[in-house]
């Protein structure tokens, strides 16, 4: 046992504090960057682009049902946001009603009414969605 100092502790109290702090920091890092990654987040805002190229942004009240009335080329529309963070075009004055038939989509997905010239979420990346939908 040459070189050993029987009076010296293997880990001091200060070492223990430092190690515990580092472990806590590691977990905090994982929580912030790791576990949250890939989860579908409900955005804070909804951007709607109109036929004339103008964009309007609407605040989303999370956990609440919310109706956003807008006016497109053909007339009024209602964008509905539900408690689960989904959106749909609930009503539209367009002739085809394709946008209404699309139904609920995730709040990060793009939803469109061509006759009304309205695009909701034109540039929000949605990692869970397929690259394209053929229809």
């Amino acid at each position: 046992m040459t070189g050993a100092n029987p009076g010296r502790r293997f880990i001091t109290r200060l070492d223990g504090v430092i190690i515990a702090a580092l472990i806590a920091c590691s977990f905090a890092g994982s929580l912030v960057y790791g576990f949250g990654a890939g989860r579908g987040k409900i955005p804070d805002r909804l951007t709607i682009r109109f036929a004339d190229g103008n964009r309007r942004t609407y605040e989303i009240r999370k956990g609440q049902v919310q109706d956003i009335p807008i006016v497109g080329r053909c007339g009024p529309m209602i964008i509905e946001f539900d408690r689960d963070g989904r959106i749909r075009i609930a009503a539209s004055a367009c002739p085809s009603q394709n946008c209404v038939r699309t139904g609920w989509v995730r709040s990060s997905e793009c939803i469109v009414c061509v006759p009304n010239g309205v695009i909701v979420n034109e540039n929000v990346p949605d990692e869970a969605a397929p690259d394209g939908i053929t229809r």
Partner: protein, 343 residues
């Protein structure tokens, strides 16, 4: 002086913490885009997504939209200043090189499908009230009269009376009308993809109202994933995954139609009867070219189910057909590509 075991452990943990955080940050780094742009054009929604260096991707997307806009300006049925609208109105034009590209694609489609694909259907669409959205069922004699003004090979004539290539002026036969909607999207996608490649973009997807073209490899190396829409629901009926360049196109009865007395009539015509095709809810085709895909999905939709299935099988076409009644059918060439998810 030797470091204590505690100090060594501390250094190790610190190193692990640093490496772990760097790795996580790297995964989340948005350095490879994508750049995505959405526009309402060609009577539908067009979106283009490009990966890679953001500046290159941005320039490529811009160039692609420029090309798509030029095709919209050229092939629009409704815009009076478009080359097509002028042709329909003035009867004789000297086509530009890009317009010739559309005409050639239409001609190839017509011959390849023995006339099932025929852009001279427009006179029928007009009679059925598709263009003014005032749907009506024309009487049989009116349908017969319209049919006499169809036939791509009979209605388009060189203005000088010769039967040469598309080099000179062309005349549209009296009474007939042309709608290039069945081919313009595919040609525009093809030209837009060429423009993106010229800009140096190597991974992108172009979506023209659900007609898709994808090529290259995404930064995360995952395959391109395409969902085939359920024609009677909001969900997905099938999935396609591909790492190779692929075009996917669907013709359906649910997006473009007119309603007469509560009954829907879709926009794809059977050129033998002069009536809208009713045998399918949707037909999806995957192919190596957007033009081919566009033409084949429309043509298979317009054929009778047995003929359509036989044509797809015989010509090695990857197709998924959803008939008006009965189960979905996937062609032998499509079996490895389409994965049903909703049945």
């Amino acid at each position: 002086m030797k470091p204590s075991l505690a100090a060594t452990l501390t250094a190790l943990l610190a190193a692990l913490f640093f490496v772990g955080c760097t790795a996580v940050l790297k995964v989340r780094e948005p350095q490879n885009g994508p750049v995505r742009q959405v526009e309402l054009m060609m009577d539908t929604i067009v979106s283009i997504t490009a990966y890679g260096d953001p500046k290159t991707a941005g320039n490529a997307v811009e160039a692609a939209f420029e090309v798509m806009r030029s095709f919209e300006g050229m092939a629009s049925f409704f815009k009076p200043e478009s080359e097509l609208a002028r042709w329909n109105a003035e009867r004789t034009i000297t086509p530009t090189a890009s317009f010739v590209r559309l005409l050639q694609a239409a001609t190839e489609g017509f011959h390849r499908t023995d006339g099932v694909f025929d852009p001279s259907f427009a006179i029928l669409a007009k009679a059925w009230g598709f263009y003014d959205q005032q749907g009506r069922i024309p009487p049989n004699d009116e349908i017969a009269s319209c049919l006499s003004m169809t036939g791509w090979d009979r209605q388009i004539l060189p203005a000088d009376g010769t039967r040469g290539p598309w080099g000179g002026a062309i005349t549209l036969a009296t009474g007939s009308l042309v709608d290039l909607g069945g081919v313009a999207g595919g040609v525009a996608i093809e030209a837009a993809a060429e423009a993106m490649r010229r800009c140096g973009c190597t991974a992108f997807i172009i979506d023209e109202g659900g007609d898709l073209w994808m090529e290259g490899s995404k930064p995360d190396r995952t395959p391109w994933r395409v969902s085939v829409k359920d024609p009677r629901g909001n969900g997905s009926l099938a999935l396609i995954e591909t790492r190779t360049p692929l075009a996917v196109s669907t013709s359906g009865d649910y997006e473009r139609f007119v309603q007469v007395d509560g009954k829907r009539y879709n926009h794809i015509f059977q050129m033998k009867t002069g009536r809208p095709a009713e045998a399918f809810r949707s037909v999806t085709v995957a192919a190596a070219s957007p033009v081919e895909c566009d033409i084949l999905s429309t043509s298979l939709f317009a054929m009778e189910p047995e003929v359509s299935r036989e044509y797809a099988a015989k010509n090695n076409i990857a197709a998924m057909m959803i008939p008006a009644s009965g189960p979905a059918w996937i062609s032998p060439a499509g079996a490895a590509l389409f994965r049903m998810v909703n049945q």
